[in-house]
């Protein structure tokens, strides 16, 4: 019995949902069935949203636990930093809940979880700049990566380097000063060889997805369950 609820029921859930979502998407019985399926589909995606939301809250508990453990174990080297994380996490949630309270207690103020003023301040002055900075730190990384990636070790690397140089020159105005043809050559590379190169990868990724779906359906892909019972 225990194996049934531990192992088989989750797998049955997976197979049933996959079969239902795929079958009803492709098959057409009547307009009513299609409409009913549309509603069920919407409900199912709401289910996923609800589950993800709970998962995020459980994840928050996990983050708290992780940092409390670190404060206990690693002492002063780590403690101030973990304390900052915990403090900001709790502050954000508290302000969010305050906004939530106001959205019911005083709806005319127009304050919701995400528009609560202090919450918004933290978002715009801590989260947003850090997020944008992490995104743009890629400019440094792409520079040092290209420095290493375009070393001519073999003929293939030479081809890679030539392509990259043409594209880089075509993208900039300096390239046009050196030779006006770089721009159209760049456009050609991006539309013909580049498209052609990614097409087999796209097809392959699609096939891989289908086969993985098959493995999930036939209960052969069980890594997602964690331990093997």
């Amino acid at each position: 019995m225990s194996l049934v609820v531990r192992k088989y029921v989750p797998q049955i859930i997976v197979s049933a949902i996959i079969v239902a979502t795929v079958a009803f998407y492709y098959l057409y019985v009547s307009k009513e069935v299609a409409d009913a399926f549309g509603r069920a589909d919407k409900a199912l995606s709401d289910w996923a949203v609800i589950i993800t939301s709970f998962a995020l809250i459980v994840g928050g508990i996990d983050i708290l636990r992780f940092h409390v453990l670190r404060i206990k174990k690693e002492g002063l080297v780590q403690a101030p930093f973990s304390a900052v994380t915990i403090a900001l996490l709790i502050t954000m949630v508290v302000f969010g809940v305050v906004g939530w309270y106001y959205s019911y207690a005083a709806p005319e103020l127009g304050i919701t979880i995400t528009t609560q003023p202090q919450f918004k301040w933290l978002y715009t002055n801590v989260y947003a700049p850090a997020d944008a900075a992490m995104y743009s730190i890629l400019v440094f990384y792409i520079a040092s990566a290209s420095y290493r990636a375009f070393r001519v070790r073999n003929p293939m690397a030479l081809l890679l380097l030539v392509t990259a140089v043409i594209v880089m020159l075509g993208n900039t105005t300096v390239g046009g000063l050196i030779w006006p043809g770089f721009l159209s050559l760049r456009d050609w590379i991006m539309t013909v060889p580049n498209t052609a190169a990614f097409r087999p990868i796209t097809i392959g990724a699609g096939l891989g997805t289908i086969v993985l779906g098959l493995r999930l359906l036939t209960w052969r892909e069980i890594s997602w369950m964690g331990r093997r019972e």
Binding site: Y28, V49, G204, L212, G226
Partner: protein
């Protein structure tokens, strides 16, 4: 040799679908959606049935050679090397979520994690799995635990150290992962899953500490960064094949023959379509045909 019933049933199902479709077509009954071309459904069904038949055949002991996937084989070397150097192994799966169409790639990443965890158990390596998808925390902990326990090294398992859920926000996750890679001074950096712009951040962080890097994703726009920067890379569908290889189970492995069949079908359709163009017949129209009459 007697053909097992399951194979007969699968092929019968395929034939049944084809026969019903043909009848519906001749009677002009609206049987399939107008949202997608019929050929898409047909390809899906053929691949599912064929993959299933391959797997059932494998049960009978039928085997075949598989091309080497160097990146997959390199995982063991990477782990052995980091144990030698006394450095931990890091693995992460990217920012794509489980409840979107990125799920298959995520599952493939978890499959590779199962392999990595087993090897870490065998070699006694410390494994740090970082993740940005909250649904997968429990699963990841279980996989790592399984890896250490099955190798008889339960003392190495410490969920708070081995599995670190950082946050689900893309760049906060990325900032914490790059810090983890550098501060823990990881010896091997294995990243497989649905990656977005964070891919290069992880690669460069790994490079800063001179880690052995194995990377794979099926997200086209990030593949170049992995191929050009990592020591070994799994390109596109290779991550799904790696998941099958990682299972260590022959019958599961056979399923990748379904991928090959799909590629051969694609090649055949392209060649056929081009030849037919000579005769003035447009195969494209048939492939794009939507089940709709009048």
């Amino acid at each position: 040799m007697k053909t097992p019933r399951s194979i007969v049933a699968a092929i019968a199902l395929l034939v049944l679908i084809l026969v019903i479709s043909a009848i519906a077509w001749s009677l002009r009954i609206q049987l399939y959606t107008t949202r997608a071309p019929f050929s898409a459904f047909l390809i899906l069904i053929v691949l599912l049935v064929a993959g299933y038949v391959f797997m059932e055949q494998a049960k009978l002991g039928k085997s075949f050679p598989v091309r080497r996937i160097p990146a997959f084989e390199a995982i063991e070397e990477a782990i052995a090397r980091s144990v030698e150097m006394g450095r931990p192994v890091h693995m992460t799966f990217g920012f794509g979520t489980i409840s979107s169409s990125m799920a298959p790639q995520y599952v493939a990443g978890l499959g590779v994690l199962a392999h990595v965890a087993r090897l870490c158990g065998r070699y006694g390596a410390k494994l740090i799995a970082t993740l940005g998808v909250p649904e997968a925390i429990a699963t990841t902990e279980e996989i790592v635990r399984e890896g250490y326990y099955s190798a008889g090294r339960p003392e190495l398992f410490n969920p708070a150290y081995n599995v670190r859920y950082l946050t689900d926000q893309q760049f906060a996750y990325a900032s914490a992962v790059q810090a983890t890679i550098v501060r823990e001074n990881v010896g091997a950096n294995i990243v497989v899953g649905p990656f977005y712009a964070e891919s290069l951040i992880f690669m460069e962080a790994g490079n800063m500490v001179g880690a052995f890097q194995i990377a794979g994703t099926a997200r086209e726009t990030q593949i170049p960064f992995f191929v050009l920067v990592a020591d070994y890379s799994l390109i596109g569908e290779e991550i799904f094949a790696a998941g099958a290889l990682a299972s260590g189970d022959k019958e599961t492995l056979v399923s990748i023959r379904g991928q090959d069949l799909g590629k051969l079908i694609s090649i055949a359709l392209v060649v056929l379509g081009i030849i037919m163009l000579l005769g003035g017949f447009k195969l494209v129209d048939s492939l794009n045909w939507v089940w709709k009459f009048g």
